[in-house]
């Protein structure tokens, strides 16, 4: 078995620092396996959030070699093992301990978005009729596992700390899933502009790059919402046409 060094963010009181751990690694291992081995052999007090080990629960989000990724989906053979592998918590959220961040802000954002409000049923039996092609557009957004890697990498939250003004890519995607749904009648465009700060997004596409579910967050969710906001609030021709409808 080969040995590798992992440079893991450890906290002590209110301070944090990187600490190196050398451990044995073998073929097929992922970063989460190595962290668990270090926990078992050297650092039983190392705090780390995890659950499914299959890239579906979104619990083990961290920054591996500086890039937001799921620890359970990052294979060691994808990383340069000659150097220490850095593992640190998501930086856009307050750290709790070691690799665990406090992501509860996300759960407070979600209820602020107007809920799904379907139109009156199409059929007497209380059911609706939808075209598959219309549902296909929003189906992509439902793949989200709420790992919050997109929130973590977004520089509006990460570097500028605008958590009060901007809801982040995860919840813009959630808003898009509702707003673009063929049955939905709720109006979220005003809130997207004023309360959710969609204008803060400057389309760097970092959220799309880190999404483990390969959701095209920027192209298919954020930009379409931006365009709807432009229609509603910035484009005088669209406003004029709306007056005649």
């Amino acid at each position: 078995m080969a040995r590798a060094t992992f440079r893991i963010w450890r906290t002590s009181g209110t301070e944090g620092r990187f600490q190196d751990y050398s451990t044995e690694v073998s073929e097929g291992m992922v970063v989460l396996d190595a962290v668990h081995r270090i926990q078992a052999e050297q650092a039983p007090d190392l705090a780390c959030r995890w659950n499914c080990k299959a890239g579906k629960c979104g619990s083990c989000s961290a920054e591996i070699n500086g890039t937001p990724r799921l620890m359970c989906m990052t294979r060691l053979n994808e990383l340069p093992m000659a150097e220490p592998v850095t593992v640190e918590p998501m930086r856009a959220f307050p750290p709790i301990r070691d690799l665990v961040s406090d992501v509860s802000w996300n759960f407070r954002v979600k209820p602020r978005i107007a809920k799904f409000a379907p139109r009156t049923p199409d059929a007497p039996d209380g059911t609706w009729r939808m075209a598959q092609r219309d549902i296909d557009r929003v189906q992509e957004f439902r793949k989200c596992i709420e790992c919050f890697l997109c929130q973590d990498v977004c520089h509006v939250l990460r570097d500028h700390n605008l958590h009060e003004e901007f809801i982040g890519p995860r919840y813009l995607t959630y808003a898009a899933a509702l707003e673009m749904h063929p049955l939905d009648t709720a109006d979220r465009e005003g809130a997207l502009k004023k309360d959710f700060g969609i204008g803060y997004c400057n389309i760097t596409k970092c959220c799309t790059k880190v999404c483990p579910e390969r959701i095209h967050i920027t192209d298919n969710a954020i930009i379409p919402l931006k365009e709807r906001v432009v229609d509603r609030f910035y484009d005088p021709v669209s406003r004029l046409l709306r007056m005649f409808k």
Binding site: H155, E179, P182, G199, Y200, C201, E227
Partner: protein, 266 residues
Amino acid sequence: MTTVPVRVVPRGFGQTTRRDAWWAVPAVVFTILSAFVVYATWAAFEGQHYTYGPYLSPFYSPEVFGDSPHAWFGSKPSFVPAWLPFSPALLILPFPGLFRVTCYYYRGAYYKAFWADPPSCAVGEPRKGYRGEHSFPLVLQNIHRYFLFIALGFLLVLAHDVWKAMWFINPVTGQTSFGIGVGTIVLAINVVLLGLYALGCHTLRHVIGGKCDELKSDTRATAYHCVSCLNARHMVWAWCSLVSVAFADIYVRLCATGVWTDWRLL
């Protein structure tokens, strides 16, 4: 559960634990865009060698006022003051230029490459304040849709230029005959690439169907599907068309100055 808030020191400009060459893509974007802007500005002010036979440089098309046979309304109008720099391209280039400047893809690219906002994903920024496109001046990027419609009109003009580039005048007899030169191919490829770029625009995708929750007609659904297909490669078409439009100008310019010979294929 009680939690002890742990302090994470904000990262400074360029600080990151990323191991890859995160600076490479912004550096390439910076270099290519800077080179293009410098060349296009020089070519626009130069005002000469922009036609060769039936070819017209895309930087100068449509030639509204000018001295070449391609001009729509003759030479420079008399009301334009003599001290004002004039070139047919100066009337044209601002429109496709602003279409690219306000393009969603280029915005993301040049915010990183020129403003370091951020320099790259998960890399520290040089400034603390941030307004994004939420307020002036960057809220003006929302004007993109108007430049899209102008750009679509330009596509038709450039396609007509390709048609005209198939008709060569015999210098001896003065007769016009059909033909295809390398320049014709260059101009045609340029129009195709510009078309793939403009027709994959995010705003066009919105206008053609994205704004509707239900794509009720098959025609609209097909159009939306086609634009979405092009949109998925918008970055590729953005760069290819940028290079092709500059190369088409260089080709016409070098043929006009006698540096290159335009080979007739037909």
